[in-house]
Symmetry: C2
Subunit: 247 residues, 2 copies
Amino acid sequence: MESYTQFIQSAINKNETIVFSCNCEVEYSGRAEAFLPAGDRIVIIKADNTLLIHQPEGTAPVNYMKPQTAHRITVTDEEFFLKSQNLALKEYLTIKLNDIYFVNSHSLSDGQKLQLSGSEKDMAEMIYKNPELIEKGFKPLSMEEHTTYGFIDVFGHDSNGTLMIVECKRYVADLSAVTQLRRYVERIKDLKGIDDVRGIIAAPKISPNSEKMLNDWGFKFVAVEPPKFREKFNKNQTNLGDFSTIQ
Amino acid sequence: MESYTQFIQSAINKNETIVFSCNCEVEYSGRAEAFLPAGDRIVIIKADNTLLIHQPEGTAPVNYMKPQTAHRITVTDEEFFLKSQNLALKEYLTIKLNDIYFVNSHSLSDGQKLQLSGSEKDMAEMIYKNPELIEKGFKPLSMEEHTTYGFIDVFGHDSNGTLMIVECKRYVADLSAVTQLRRYVERIKDLKGIDDVRGIIAAPKISPNSEKMLNDWGFKFVAVEPPKFREKFNKNQTNLGDFSTIQ
DNA sequence: GGGGAGAGATGCCGC
DNA sequence: GCGGCATTTCTCCCC
């Protein structure tokens, strides 16, 4: 234990990226209060002093501390602790280390950013460039039009000159998407002093209750798929190929 | 490289929790499309076949695959890949391994769940038990009352018998919190066939525009802090104690 | 730094 | 599985 914790403390001092696996319990106090009883976990301390605690299952960390947190190993009555505190955010975390299985530490170098396509913004741009996806005669005027009550994805008018507000969702449009659209429509009616503004939800799908609410308010749903420029795989494949033996 | 990748493949077969550090590039196709150029990262494959890729900075993983994804090492023209696919979700990820710095694999055991307090639900319970936090004479009738347009945090009536709907937020109430409240108020008016229903936002803070919108609709903001039962630290401390040397 | 909103959101609970 | 919604949301963008 002692050699492991000394190694961790030394790596903390050198600002390296540290990974270790341990049996531990965790206490957190900050935006909420939390306690996690003893179990096996993986702990990562990154170069920017982010701390992550992962259980052996699940996508999200069970506990964490944000970047720029101070970390220190302490020993009391032969019990080992990793104490973290972020004074600026008033957040505190203590890991009681019952056992350490392995530790690794490296200086890692990575200046790359993820290049992603298929976001809601990409959808809005696609609609802006291909307005017929909404309806024949739709003329977009602006994207991300700002109002006090939020900003509008695509703003324009139809073939009759009636103003149109389009709210894009990349997956299933829900109740809050509909109230969001309503907020913009009301705001534009108020700002322009007119009563005739159309509201459109553009998404691949919409939940039944949301569609009911949408129709109750006189708005319209248009089915649109988000664009995916980088697509390389055939998603309809049924042949597992290389993977067939490990399914 | 070859011994590392063989070790990884063998650990995948044994369903262990694997951690390795490497230089790699990543390609993802699924709900969106993404590419991450070469850099140093930490990769975790968990016992439930969740995969996480972390850069040396930041809280969130830069790429990931959900639980129950199949993983396999492949070698083509002396280039090493970790290929992951989740056929059920139609998601695919390929890591091109340029270099591996270390690998570790263990069978980890952890059946514990995080015990958390200070959530929105805790706030609702606190208000239910201490209705004077909202106002003198408030009588709560139910929590999580269900409507077609969502469920209400705390439902009750005031000293005059007027129905009241309370929406709790654990941090700053925003525009969508106000529209959410409005949705419930309108739904209850509609269901009960009455016109007099009060709406309350209970939160520590509310954004200025949200408060304006709230007041425009005749609703009210009440300042309430979320409860924190596990609090052990004095957050107003200015003495850094053990941490003073590493700030 | 605050406001506003998306996210490959995730996770939880309910039906 | 979908629906509805909170989250120690995180992250980005813009003011």
